[in-house]
Each structure stands twice: as structure tokens, then as C-alpha cells.
């Protein structure tokens, strides 16, 4: 990349930071080396430079030094530019380094590394420890980056989504309120514009790109919204608990016996085992996975569901 551009931007930052007063474009051009001699070419380049500084998060103020000033000027307000004082004890710095590792190989890896760099520049001694005894990681997901941006900038989005069991994906329009990772999977919750209702989507079921469908600031998150709660409700099992009576061949079905509330020998090498469950669709699949080692006695609908599963294998 261009060394001259870096030099120019660096000088521009130093120039705007060291001045208490607003500097006009003409004054900036006189002070900062590297701008072209034609005023129009300078203006164009200066506009791009300002945009670049803003993208880096450098605050740029526009204003005049007094009521008599005719031309607007620019400056970088120091209080807004500077990272406030932060001092971390060694154990706190260790925790911070560990936190930055959570995003490794995921979308915010660069952001976490950038934050750590600034904190180190502020004097924090956050060194990579080789043996922290724990390695936490978050999974990456293609749709995460654009949705994070959408939540950050309060922009509505549109994407193609394949709901569970659907043979075709559908286009959805969402005002995203927040992103949640639950049991290792990413979800986005918000207001579905077409259905005019609160909806939760799993990121792994989004197909193709996530596109912004409105301007920044267009999304209003209702007061008191708890996105964790929304995702938890969407994801949770039906609460009603039932009890199944199962015949399990002796010495097998250990995964079911772990959850048993009652167990007695039933003769002929079979045991009668009482197992509580709440999600009958899931439980039927679970029982089917044990094949001929487990037979459902009761309830009848669970028994039928297992028989349907097994017939499905042969279909």
C-alpha cells in the first residue's frame, strides 16, 4: 500500500490533534505535506481522507472559531479521541487476553485484536499466556458479520432462509434487535416485517448473503427487549412432562437408563424402565436410535411415533 498516503494521513491526524482551533481546508493544505497543488484535486483527496479517518473511528469535528468566521474548519477533539485511562492488574490483563482468544478464527478476531493493541498501547501488559488452562472459542458463521453490522447500525436486512423442514428457502425481511449464541449456535431475533411479528432465526439456516434493506438508524429496538429471553423461549422444549414405560434389553439402553426414575427386572432378559420426557418427537427419535434393544410399552402415541420412525427406515 501507498507509503505516501500513510504519511499524509498520519500528518493530518497529528495536525488536527495538535490544534485547539478549527483549521480551514486552506490552512490544512498549507500545513500537511503531500496534497496536490490544484485546489480541486486537493478537495477531492481531502474528502476521501476525512472519510478514511472516520472509518478508523477518529472523531472529526466541524465548526467555526467564532461568529465572525465565514469558513468552516476541522479539528480532532482530544477528549473524544483519547482512550480514557485504564489500568489493569495482572489477573485482569490475563482475563482480557483470554477474552480476545474467544474470537479466534471467527468474525470479530480482527476487532478483538485491534482492541487489545490499543489497550497495550495504553500500558496494559496483556501478553499471550501459553497455558491458561482453558480455551474458549465461538464458532464462526457466514451471516454473523453482516448481522452484527446491522444490529450495530440499526439497519433492516433481507435474506433467504430455509426454515426447519422446508424444501425451499424463503426471502425474509427483518429488523434485527440482537444476536445470541445459545448452546453453541448463533441466532438473530427481531421484527419480521412481512409477518409483523417477533421472529427468531438460526444463522446456519440463512442461505446466501445478508443484504441491508434500509438506512442506518431505521430500526427501533423496543424498550425492555431481552434478546436472550426471546431466543430462549423460541428454543425451549415444551414444558409438559410425561413418563414413558420402556422395555429395555438387559445390559443395553444405558443412555435411557441414565435418565430413568424407576427400573425393575421384567424377566426373559428384559428390564422395565420408567423414563420421563417432555419433547415426544425428539424422544421417539432417540428411542428409535436404540433399535431392537428398546420397546415402548406406554404411552401409545410415543409407541406409534417410534413405529413410524422405524417404518420410515424401511420405506
Amino acid at each position: 500500500m501507498s507509503k505516501r498516503k500513510t504519511e499524509r494521513l498520519l500528518s493530518l491526524v497529528v495536525c488536527l490533534l495538535s490544534s485547539q482551533r478549527y483549521l480551514t481546508a486552506t490552512q490544512i493544505r498549507a500545513a500537511v505535506p503531500g496534497y496536490p497543488s490544484s485546489f480541486d484535486a486537493f478537495k477531492r483527496m481531502f474528502e476521501r481522507d476525512k472519510e478514511e479517518l472516520r472509518e478508523l473511528g477518529i472523531p472529526l469535528d466541524m465548526g467555526t472559531n467564532g461568529p465572525l468566521d465565514e469558513e468552516y474548519g476541522y479539528r480532532i477533539p482530544r477528549q473524544e479521541y483519547m482512550l480514557p485511562d485504564i489500568r489493569l492488574e495482572p489477573d485482569e490483563a490475563a482475563v482480557l487476553t483470554l477474552a480476545a482468544r474467544v474470537w479466534r478464527r471467527a468474525e470479530l478476531e480482527g476487532a478483538a485484536a485491534g482492541a487489545l493493541l490499543k489497550l497495550r498501547a495504553a500500558g496494559v501488559e496483556a501478553e499471550e499466556t501459553s497455558q491458561p488452562g482453558i480455551e474458549p472459542r465461538l464458532a464462526g458463521e457466514a451471516a454473523f458479520g453482516p448481522l452484527w453490522e446491522a444490529v450495530r447500525d440499526r439497519r433492516p436486512v433481507t435474506f433467504s432462509y430455509r426454515a426447519f423442514g422446508r424444501s425451499e428457502p424463503q426471502q425474509r425481511q427483518l429488523e434485527p434487535w440482537g444476536v445470541v449464541n445459545r448452546h453453541g449456535r448463533w441466532y438473530v431475533a427481531g421484527h419480521d416485517q412481512a409477518r409483523d411479528a417477533v421472529r427468531v432465526f438460526r444463522l446456519s439456516r440463512i442461505e446466501g448473503p445478508v443484504a441491508f434493506s434500509g438506512p442506518r438508524g431505521a430500526v427501533k429496538v423496543p424498550d425492555g427487549t431481552d434478546v436472550r429471553e426471546l431466543v430462549a423461549e423460541w428454543d425451549s422444549e415444551p414444558a409438559e412432562r410425561q413418563v414413558a414405560m420402556l422395555k429395555i434389553r438387559a445390559g443395553t439402553g444405558f443412555g435411557l437408563r441414565r435418565r430413568a426414575t424407576g427400573e425393575q427386572p421384567g424377566g426373559d432378559g428384559w428390564d422395565l424402565v420408567e423414563v420421563p420426557f417432555s419433547d415426544s418427537a425428539w424422544f421417539a427419535e432417540h428411542i428409535a436410535s436404540f433399535g431392537a434393544d428398546v420397546v415402548v410399552s406406554e404411552p401409545a402415541d410415543l409407541r406409534d411415533a417410534v413405529i413410524t420412525r422405524l417404518k420410515g427406515v424401511l420405506a
Binding site: L10, L17, A31, L108, R137, S167, K311
Partner: protein, 343 residues
């Protein structure tokens, strides 16, 4: 910053230059070598950066050089830095990335062996300090949350923590779902992994004589032994960033077709290939050393999954399903489809 950056853009470099001055100023004197390592650049690149900073010149109203520094004898000293002695404040992405991660660690508290995490005090202090330093930039982190499974029993977590802290061997009674059995083994604990929302103990399994992962929610019983953990030299910790489960080329190749209701398999297990075969169906290729696991998966899937390869395994699954149906007696014993359609 040990991760290599593939492309250095001028804005990357500008950020580094803006961080470099305060990095030196806050430490008064720093070595060239250490600083290069801290910024993930070569010493040569670092010297280029220092020269660029030193050469900054403002021409008006009076020409002057705002930054004065030296790096003689391999030691960097900044003697004049004007308004550059503090780093730029944290951006929204930066502050929120760290805060989301810190709050995730706070959720882990009870299982974590790191002293600061176990009590949570260092964590809550760090979160408070970072929130204060970040100001508004940290607000987004309230809209992004990570919840961690707490399926492991309190007692298991406590014992694992104790074993890791005191570096002692443990005896594990561990449930292996693919074989549907409880196994007994001695393990020398290495560390905890928290990946995709699950907590695993990584340790040297003395029965397998290999590094193994144990999901804490599958631990049936645990005892911390009065013996020191002896993790041998050859015990290689897993490279978490490459994925926990690396299929080996010797593993059997399994091809399964999945209905729209069976597609979750492709989300849950690492697949070598995923092909859309129309009407919402997928064909996936998996590698596994464990055909028993595939057999159970196929029985679970029912009509939502079809094992295509290997053929013996497909036949085995059908045999098992037929045997299971036979246990439900007549009426359920045979598939209710015309005989001609059963291949």
C-alpha cells in the same frame, strides 16, 4: 498479535503508527525486539514505522516536527509526542467484541479452572473497567449475548476444577453414546475446552494412551485421585482452531441423503461434501471411524435419512429396523407398503 496479517493496508498501518507512540510512552523505554513482537511485525518494519513517525513535519503556520524519538542501541525512547501520547479510543466493534467475550467467560465461571475466572472477581473488575473506558462504544455488546451450556453437574465441574488446579489424576466413569456404554478410565487432565457451547475436558487417557476429549455432561462419576497427573511429552493438545474433530483419511466414507427434516445433520456434524439434490434434500459425505454411530443416526432419522454408502451398513440399518418393528408384534411388524415397493 501473533496472527499474521495477509495484507497490510495503509489504514492498518496508520492504526499501528497511532498505537506505537503511546505504547512506548506508557512504558518509557522499550526494546526494539519486544516491541516488534508485540505488534506482530519484523524489526525492519518497526524501524520503518519509527522513521515515518520521526519524519512527520507540519509546514504551517511555522514548520515543525511534532514527534521526536530515538532507537539507538535497540531501545526506543519517545522524547516528544505532542498530542499522540494516548491511544485512540476503542471502536464499537473492538469494545463490544471484548465485552461479549468477557461476559461469556463470566457465564463459564463455575467450571473454569483459571483462578480469576473461578471467583469471577478479576472478571467483573475487568468488565467494569473496560465498560468505563469504552463508554458508548460498549453499548452494542448488550445486544449480543453468548449463553453457555450448564448441563454438567455442579459436582463434576468442581472436581474437574480441583484436579486441574492441583494437577492430579482423576478416575472417570464416562458415557459413550455411540456405543451406549459406561466406560471406566484414569485420565491425566490437561485443560478445559469450551467450543460450540459445550465444555470438554482434554486429558491423557491412560487406557487409550492417547489425548481424549470428555464432554462434562457425559461424565457419570468422577474421583480426584491422590496421584499426580503425568501427561507425557508426546501428548499433543488439540489445535482448537482447526476444529475439535478432525476426520482421519482412514475413516470410513459414509454417504447419507437427508430430507428437509434431516438437514440438521449437515449443521451438526462436519461434512466432507454437501450437495443439494433437489426438493430440499441433501446428500452429505461424512468420515467416521465408528459405523455404530451411523447406524444409530440412521435409525433416529427414519424416513428423513437414507444411508447410501457403504451398502453393508445400509443393509444393517434396515435389518435392525425390521428386528425392532418385529418386537411390536403383528400389525407393526411389517412395513405397511406393498411388497413390490420394498427393494
Amino acid at each position: 498479535m501473533t496472527s499474521p496479517r495477509p495484507v497490510t493496508t495503509s489504514s492498518d498501518r496508520l492504526q499501528r503508527l497511532l498505537a506505537l507512540v503511546p505504547y512506548v510512552v506508557s512504558r518509557k523505554v522499550v526494546g526494539l525486539t519486544d516491541t516488534a513482537a508485540a505488534f506482530g511485525v519484523s524489526e525492519r518494519e518497526l524501524v520503518d514505522d519509527l522513521n515515518m513517525l520521526w519524519c512527520v513535519e507540519l509546514r504551517a503556520p511555522d514548520p515543525y516536527c511534532p514527534i521526536d524519538l530515538s532507537y539507538e542501541g535497540g531501545e526506543i525512547v519517545v522524547s516528544q509526542a505532542e498530542q499522540m501520547e494516548r491511544p485512540l479510543r476503542l471502536g464499537v466493534d473492538e469494545a463490544s467484541a471484548l465485552l461479549v467475550a468477557l461476559r461469556m467467560l463470566a457465564e463459564l465461571g463455575p467450571v473454569a479452572p483459571v483462578p480469576g475466572l473461578a471467583e469471577g472477581s478479576a472478571l467483573s473488575r475487568t468488565i467494569a473497567k473496560l465498560e468505563e473506558a469504552a463508554g458508548e462504544a460498549g453499548a452494542l455488546s448488550a445486544q449480543v449475548a453468548v449463553q453457555v451450556d450448564k448441563n454438567a453437574e455442579e459436582n463434576v465441574a468442581a472436581q474437574v476444577r480441583e484436579a486441574l488446579a492441583s494437577r492430579r489424576r482423576i478416575h472417570l466413569s464416562y458415557y459413550v453414546p455411540t456405543r451406549d456404554e459406561a466406560t471406566e478410565r484414569d485420565v491425566d487432565p490437561m485443560r478445559l475446552l469450551v467450543v460450540e457451547g459445550r465444555t470438554y475436558l482434554e486429558g491423557w487417557c491412560r487406557s487409550a494412551e492417547a489425548v481424549r476429549l470428555f464432554r462434562l455432561d457425559r461424565v457419570l462419576g468422577i474421583e480426584v485421585l491422590a496421584l499426580p497427573a503425568e501427561v507425557p511429552e508426546e501428548a499433543d493438545p488439540r489445535d482448537v482452531d482447526r476444529g475439535l474433530f478432525q476426520p482421519s483419511p482412514e475413516d470410513a466414507r459414509v454417504v447419507i441423503e437427508l430430507s428437509p427434516y434431516g438437514r440438521w445433520v449437515a449443521e451438526y456434524y462436519p461434512c466432507e461434501e454437501v450437495t443439494d439434490i433437489g426438493e430440499g434434500w441433501l446428500r452429505v459425505v461424512l468420515r467416521t471411524p465408528d459405523s455404530e454411530w451411523v447406524r444409530r443416526l440412521a435409525l433416529r432419522l427414519g424416513e428423513d435419512g437414507r444411508v447410501v454408502e457403504p451398502a453393508e451398513l445400509a443393509a444393517d440399518v434396515r435389518r435392525e429396523a425390521a428386528a425392532a418393528l418385529a418386537r411390536y408384534g403383528s400389525g407393526a411388524g411389517h412395513p405397511s407398503v406393498p411388497a413390490g415397493e420394498v427393494s
